[in-house]
Symmetry: C2
Subunit: 239 residues, 2 copies
């Protein structure tokens, strides 16, 4: 039996049985008493809280609050979680956000630092407002999955972003803008872009954008976007 598998088996067994002696555990996982003790020591090093009592009637007990889990997450998945929690927090008075932050901070800490820097730069351009205007939900489209990656790339690389836009009357036009920010007024998301042809800022409802595509042959110098006071970036992240 693999060391890792044995560690898992020990944690499971402790969770199931409450209190166990080292000898019991050794029999259960099919290893020697010495090995189990070494495993317990390793688990404690990894952050599991295991109480122990020597003497008659003693044994080991796992603190259930310390039960932990691991998972390998890709950068995109971490990013999605990050946004979810940041929005939740920015959007209102929500419980758990402290705990969720703690969890995210742990995940984030494990990411390579340049990726974190990119994530933060990207989050700098996300703004959240207090409440959405009253919206007919049935009218809402679905945001294209490709939109966010395209926006992220265009924003970070300072490239122009092209797309098809369907306005409130249903008319479709082709647009090319310099992406400046994203504005979240739940449940609506807006893309804020500088339109170099019209020489003005424009807000686009993100569920009305289709076929987004960044244009790698173009580039621009980033500007600051003037936003109202009650809109704040969701920059305010764990740690």
């Amino acid at each position: 039996m693999n060391t890792r598998l044995r560690h898992d088996a020990i944690v499971r067994s402790l969770r199931r049985n409450g209190t166990l002696t080292v000898a019991d555990l050794a029999q259960e996982v099919g290893a020697s008493r010495r090995t189990v003790l070494r495993d317990i020591s390793a688990l404690r090093d990894e952050g599991f809280v295991i109480h122990s009592e020597p003497g008659r009637g003693g044994g080991l007990q796992l603190d259930p609050q310390s039960v932990q889990t691991t998972a390998r997450l890709s950068v995109a998945e971490v990013f999605a979680l990050l946004i979810s929690v940041a929005c939740m927090r920015a959007a209102g008075n929500l419980p758990f956000s402290g705990l969720a932050d703690a969890g995210l901070a742990k995940i984030e800490r494990a990411l390579p630092s340049d990726k974190v820097r990119d994530l933060r730069r990207f989050l700098d351009c996300l703004y959240v407002g207090q409440l959405s205007p009253q919206v007919d939900i049935s009218d809402m489209g679905v945001m294209e999955p490709a939109l966010l990656p395209a926006f992220e790339t265009a924003f970070l690389q300072r490239h122009h972003l092209g797309f098809q836009y369907r306005d409130a009357k249903g008319a479709v036009t082709s647009r090319i803008v310099e992406p400046q920010a994203m504005l979240i007024l739940p449940p609506l998301w807006y893309l804020v872009g500088w339109d170099p042809v019209r020489e003005d800022f424009r807000h686009f409802r993100m569920d009305r954008i289709s076929r987004p595509k960044y244009l790698p042959n173009t580039s621009f110098r980033q500007r600051h976007v003037p936003f109202e006071d009650n809109i704040r970036p969701i920059r305010d992240l764990p740690r």
Copy 2:
């Protein structure tokens, strides 16, 4: 050097240098070419996408999108993340939720199954409505951190829940209820409880509850709560 450490070193090195040959990597991490090749194979098994080109000028290249991170999360932290994403999804048309779900599903899969069962039972009692009534945000209090754990325990163990409640006029009363559900109408959260004294359901704004405490000496048989059609449980979770 530990196998795990070497794997991390290889990933870091590939990220930093873009393209590297196996020989370069071997020198960098201080291991033999054969060992590095074995490590690459192991990393691929773990989900890292590593492109390779044989022949002159070839080498290895790590797909940056596949960079992964691990973290150990406690059950409470996973729970908090779970709620965040579930609420986000229930509250409206949001991007990323697919990705966030995928990340959460990975985390959840690694949890002990009895904990997952508890989480799901608890989430069954959470309901989310479409939009909040217009609320004076400045009037909103802060939810007590102890409230959720107390509610969770009371709900799962079917114990009564006692607390102090401050109504809209500011009058404070002591309440004891059988917790039935939680209702989320962002940004407000409500506790739905059966009041055995008044023999009726009562809704309590959670930011007006203080000193929550479950009463382990009491118990009750759980009832179904009649809810309107436009309120749906946020049960609809990853996987």
